[in-house]
């Protein structure tokens, strides 16, 4: 850990599961491994059910609400271990150092609170100077909402999807976090609104040096705005690297994801799709969990009880594939 201890957050061999009094513990995340530096923008990509949201929940202390718990590993945020923090510890931490923008902008804000009340709640723990009203206005300015006085008096249903997401980002920024987690912040929004929200995230990072984790299933979007990428499949990190490094992927899953991108496909050409679907939680096979869908599969891929670890030095381009030598030339 010494080599990269200047980073803001380390997720090390994280294992998350839902314990059951009689049956076996249901494992949802196993082998999650990545770091994020100060002011860095990290993209997290993977299909539905790959454990992206669970990993992020472990950083904001809301795993328990889903009955889940960290079984092994560490989530180190500025040398505090969040993985085993108590609820009273979380009460001090939550919403302060790490901000969270939920997936559904339309369902995110409380429908019976005005934007003013919404922001006041988020500002409760703020130590910044000025009255709540002044701070609310400043926050809305920050997320580039015009007509601030009108918006403050409105309810979420009176705002468009893009505006609602801006309000959610404003709430997450209320306590000037060092890390902002945006969980699919633009799903269901138009591409034009999506590109505005992305510009906003980039501005926030530039202005305040906020590190940002952007969760998305859209590799093209991550390419546009992120520095580094972590690829998740069936609860495990299968590849980590810079955006440039991932253009030459070292894991078959990333290769397949790249090939299914329509922004680089020839119009009307056959798009590559990934065989089958990811194994469900509780039905993970032995060995590599991608093997059954992999076109490069070898006999030894499904041997061994555990999913292959990430090979290569932490912080460099890492992949969890046993046979990267077979992938040369594939993009």
């Amino acid at each position: 850990m010494t080599s990269s201890s200047h980073k803001l957050l380390h997720v090390v061999d994280l294992k998350i599961g839902i314990p059951h009094p009689r049956r076996e513990t249901l494992i949802m995340v196993d082998n999650a491994n990545f770091d994020i530096g100060y002011g860095e923008m990290l993209g997290m990509v993977g299909e539905s059910g790959s454990g992206k949201t669970m990993v992020c929940r472990s950083m904001i202390g809301t795993l328990e609400r889903r009955g889940a718990t960290v079984l092994e590993g560490q989530v180190l945020f500025e040398d505090q271990d969040l993985a085993h923090a108590s609820e009273s510890h979380w009460k001090k931490l939550r919403g302060k150092a790490i901000g969270y923008v939920p997936q559904s902008a339309l369902a995110g804000p409380n429908p019976v609170l005005t934007i003013q009340a919404q922001l006041a709640e988020a500002l409760q723990k703020s130590e910044a100077k000025g009255s709540i009203a002044e701070q609310s206005k400043r926050l809305l300015d920050l997320v580039k909402i015009r007509r601030v006085d009108t918006v403050l008096k409105q309810y979420p249903n009176q705002l468009s999807g893009g505006m609602r997401q801006r309000v959610m980002i404003a709430c997450a920024l209320a306590s000037e976090p060092k890390l902002l987690i945006a969980d699919e912040p633009t799903t269901g929004l138009d591409v034009t609104v999506q590109s505005q929200i992305m510009e906003l995230l980039k501005d926030i990072r530039r202005e305040f040096g906020t590190a940002i984790i952007l969760i998305s299933h859209d590799l093209a979007l991550i390419d546009d705005v992120c520095d580094r990428v972590v690829v998740m499949h069936a609860g495990a990190t299968v590849e980590v690297g810079s955006v440039a490094q991932l253009a030459v992927p070292r894991h078959p899953y990333t290769i397949a994801l790249n090939q299914s991108r329509i922004d680089i496909a020839e119009p009307g050409s056959e798009l590559v799709t990934i065989l089958g679907s990811a194994p469900s939680v509780g039905e993970w096979p032995l060995g590599c969990r991608f093997a059954a869908r992999c076109i490069f599969r070898q006999n030894d891929c499904s041997l061994g009880a555990n999913h292959p670890p990430l090979f290569g030095e932490r912080g460099s381009h890492q992949s969890a594939c046993l046979h990267t030598e077979l992938l040369k030339g594939a993009k």
Binding site: V191, S195, D218, D263, A265, P267, G268
Partner: protein
């Protein structure tokens, strides 16, 4: 490169759908909303056509008008030269069967109580007037063509993935043996590899001669599938023409903005052109 059985441009003799001067107004007085304003459009048999625009541009309303589901306030839609709407009511006839629609949210459009198989079989039975057993085997075949195996076909919508649900609703639309498929934002609720799978299916359907109207806010999807596109804003078409040409040489500022917003390589290229 696969070849499309389509005719460039629009020759009146070959158009399967013609919308003439269509307007749709909702509400009245202060609440009056003109969703679609004097829009005309043609669709050739077997043509992949795109309609692109943001939320609120009127594109979904227009799609509903073309599908025979929303009588226009003024104007007319012709299907094979026959008017679709008579007075204020839609004409229940050939057009209803031949023009099928797939909606944005497959979860909302499939009956949660029915398995994918029974949902499709029901549609097969209605459109083909066959008995239950025959309908089921036809439905299974349709689902199989859409990449849904028998094991998944007997699942209910909530047990299926987003991509599978969307493909099940395409299978249901195809049960009527339509000549036009209207797809309203079919890819916006599903993830990247499911999107690729659906687009591959659409390409296969085009090769079999089906016309597809793809309604989307994402020009990336439109570029991949269609040959001709209408760009819609505030209820009117601001630009239309050959998809590739519009991509390489957009005239309207609005189209340029849409192009620059596409995530990934396409948007980067468009932004570079715009600032050059």
């Amino acid at each position: 490169m696969p070849t499309y059985r389509i005719i460039e441009g629009s020759q009146v003799s070959q158009s399967i759908i013609e919308a003439e001067d269509v307007s749709v107004t909702f509400g009245s007085g202060a609440n009056k909303v003109e969703a679609v304003k004097n829009v005309s459009l043609t669709l050739a048999a077997g043509e992949p056509l795109g309609i692109v625009g943001e939320s609120g541009s009127g594109k979904s309303t227009l799609a509903r008008v073309l599908a025979g589901l929303q009588p226009p306030t003024s104007g007319q839609v012709l299907f094979n030269g026959e008017p679709v709407y008579r007075g204020n009511r839609s004409y229940i006839g050939e057009a209803r069967r031949q023009v099928q629609m797939v909606f944005q949210d497959p979860y909302a459009s499939l009956n949660p109580q029915l398995t994918a198989l029974s949902a499709v079989a029901e549609a097969v039975r209605i459109h083909n007037k066959c008995d239950k057993k025959e309908a089921e085997s036809k439905a299974l075949e349709l689902l199989r063509r859409m990449g849904i195996a028998q094991l998944d076909a007997i699942k209910k919508p909530r047990q299926l993935s987003g991509g599978q649900r969307q493909r099940a609703s395409v299978a249901r639309a195809l049960s009527a043996n339509p000549s036009v498929l209207l797809a309203d934002e079919p890819t916006s609720a599903i993830d990247q590899s499911a999107q690729a799978q659906l687009l591959n299916l659409f390409r296969g359907l085009l090769n079999q001669g089906l016309a597809i109207v793809l309604v989307s806010h994402d020009l990336g999807v439109i570029r991949y599938l269609t040959k001709r596109v209408y760009v819609m804003k505030d209820g009117v078409f601001v630009e239309s023409g050959n998809t590739e040409e519009i991509f390489n040489n957009p005239h309207e500022d609005y189209t340029k903005e849409l192009l620059a917003s596409i995530p990934g390589a396409l948007g980067v290229a468009a932004r570079r052109r715009r600032s050059a």
